[in-house]
């Protein structure tokens, strides 16, 4: 009797995560689709509209989608090579004693609240860009890219390092025995063997970059224009939600949920890619 009851309770607890996921997806999609389903707004105009003026009933988020994509891709271009090379260095080149100090330190930095990266960005990176590039305002797409690239570094390094260390020693020995150099072995044998783990590191870093909100608000400038250069002030999707959720109501609030759906779709796509990669790396 007690045994049966407790088994039921355990099952109930396990199902709560399914329930939570359904509630989150359900509420966000229900709220966000309402303007298009029930109030006659066009979804096409929402995605491709250039103007976001809630007071005039204009809700277009194309500039924000572009800003989010540029910011994420930019952070990827800088953060991934540096992070990956650091991971290779720590796993393959660094003396054991050095790696033993640096690896935990980098791991620790993955746990630092992201807000602090934003504070640093506003205090150092923004004025630096302003002074050296002669900008009116240093808060820009470039500032966002740099902050996100720095922020994703610890994640990329930690996950990629684990993947590289997991490559069996035999691979290296075999390659070296055939006369390959150490560097040749690393780039031609070890890195390809750790490919799926490295890809997972990239996707995790990406997820962190595209979802980041508070640090980005501080350095983005938050203008609603379509970004045409790295020095333009931008407003990515996440910051639009955080900045306006406090006072929005009615259709305006629902449009913020719709913004959330777009962000959600990007993340689902990333998760899908991650799942594909990790199922491939399973053997």
């Amino acid at each position: 009797m007690l045994e049966k009851l407790s088994a039921r309770i355990f099952l109930f607890c396990a199902l709560l995560s399914v329930v939570s996921l359904l509630l989150i997806v359900g509420f966000v999609f229900y709220k966000g689709s309402h303007p298009f389903v029930a109030e006659g707004y066009s979804f096409f105009d929402f995605i491709f509209g250039m103007d976001w003026v809630p007071s005039e009933d204009k809700f277009g988020i194309f500039p924000m989608i572009v800003a989010s994509l540029f910011a994420t891709i930019g952070a990827l271009i800088i953060g991934v090579p540096v992070g990956l090379f650091t991971a290779i260095f720590l796993a393959e080149i660094a003396p054991k004693r050095v790696a033993k100090i640096i690896s935990p330190a980098v791991q620790l930095l993955a746990g630092i609240p992201s807000v602090l990266y934003g504070v640093f960005g506003l205090a150092i990176i923004v004025p630096f860009l302003q002074n050296n590039l002669g900008l009116v305002k240093g808060q820009s797409l470039l500032a966002v890219i740099l902050v996100l690239a720095i922020m994703m570094l610890p994640t990329v390094v930690t996950v990629a390092e684990t993947a590289i260390r997991a490559v069996p020693k035999m691979y290296r020995e075999g390659s070296l025995a055939l006369g390959a150099s150490q560097i040749g072995t690393i780039f031609k044998v070890v890195v390809p063997a750790a490919k799926s783990g490295i890809m997972a590191a990239v996707v995790l870093g990406l997820g962190r970059a595209i979802g980041e909100t508070m640090a980005v608000i501080l350095v983005a400038g938050n203008s609603l224009i379509l970004p045409t250069s790295l020095t333009d002030s931008v407003r990515p999707l996440t910051t639009n939600i955080a900045l306006e959720m406090g006072y929005a109501f009615g259709t305006h609030q629902e449009m913020l949920f719709a913004t959330g759906i777009v962000l959600f779709s990007f993340i689902l796509l990333l998760n899908f890619v991650l799942a594909k990669i990790s199922s491939k790396g399973g053997n």
């Binding site: 989150i24 720590l90 504070v119 205090a123």
Partner: protein, 274 residues
């Protein structure tokens, strides 16, 4: 030619590692350099005042509230869920669904959790912008962390423990509470510590559900601000980098302590005599 390429790549590896370490050292160094002058007894334990830099005691209390409430809910649920997945469930469609849901929850960005919390806990359940609304949102955020770490811990408990206990005539439940859970305890504890780190570092979800009131919360239904939100707001509203950095020091020290205790516990785990 090959030698040259090798040297170039080796140089790039050194340079990247140096760059990573330098950037991260500069960030932490800058936060400490900017903020340490403000840190004293009154700053940590004083009440907030809008004039000057104010004390941060209300924000510390709010942060502690969110940690306590979310863990008191998420820990038992997470542990029992993991027990179900590891000890009770037959592998099949249901388990795959639960695993899929848990993994998906991990990937959702915190601003989406914030949106959900704002419409579900704040509006639909009528909690208003409050500590309780933020804590319940955080509960969902840390639940997958606790489930996963507990599952890992349960996997390390040798099968012989279970067999030995059951052979002595105990029930499955007695074996669970007297044998399996106690030996999985260090792993479960480090999962809880990880969760505390996640809660302390969270900002976007809390910003949308707990609000920004800078005063000592009267109870769990008060709107209040946590340390991270405080650090964000003083930067955004008044550009007070010194204050934001001082709050940052407090946050980093908390994360450091959590990390050391997690390492300490997992070392104990490795020494445990199986």
């Amino acid at each position: 030619m090959r030698k040259f390429k090798d040297h170039l790549l080796l140089g790039l590896l050194w340079a990247s590692a140096f760059l990573t370490v330098a950037v991260l050292v500069i960030i932490v160094g800058y936060i400490f350099y900017k903020g340490f002058r403000l840190i004293d007894f009154n700053f940590i334990f004083g009440d907030y005042s809008p004039v000057g830099h104010g004390g941060i005691w209300p924000m510390i209390v709010t942060t502690l509230y969110t940690i306590f409430i979310s863990l008191i809910i998420a820990t038992p649920i997470g542990i029992l869920a993991a027990v179900y997945l590891q000890e009770y469930a037959k592998q099949g469609r249901l388990v795959r669904l639960i695993r899929y849901a848990t993994e998906s929850l991990t990937g959702i960005p915190s601003i989406i959790y914030g949106l959900f919390g704002a419409v579900f806990f704040v509006t639909t359940l009528k909690f208003g912008m409050s500590i309780i609304a933020a804590s319940l949102t955080l509960t969902i955020i840390v639940l997958p962390v606790i489930i996963r770490t507990t599952e890992e811990a349960l996997k390390t408990v040798p099968l012989s423990y279970r067999e030995g206990s059951l052979a002595l005539g105990t029930t499955k439940l007695q074996t669970l509470y007297k044998v399996i859970l106690p030996s999985a305890m260090p792993g479960i504890l480090s999962g809880i510590i990880l969760s505390i780190g996640r809660i302390v570092g969270e900002s976007a979800a809390i910003f949308l559900t707990a609000g920004t009131v800078a005063a000592m919360p009267e109870g769990i239904f008060s709107s209040a601000r946590t340390l991270t939100v405080h650090s964000f707001l003083v930067t955004q509203e008044s550009g007070d980098i010194e204050l934001a950095a001082a709050v940052g020091i407090v946050l980093i020290v908390i994360i450091l302590i959590l990390n050391f205790s997690a390492t300490f516990i997992s070392k104990k785990l490795n020494k445990a005599d199986y």
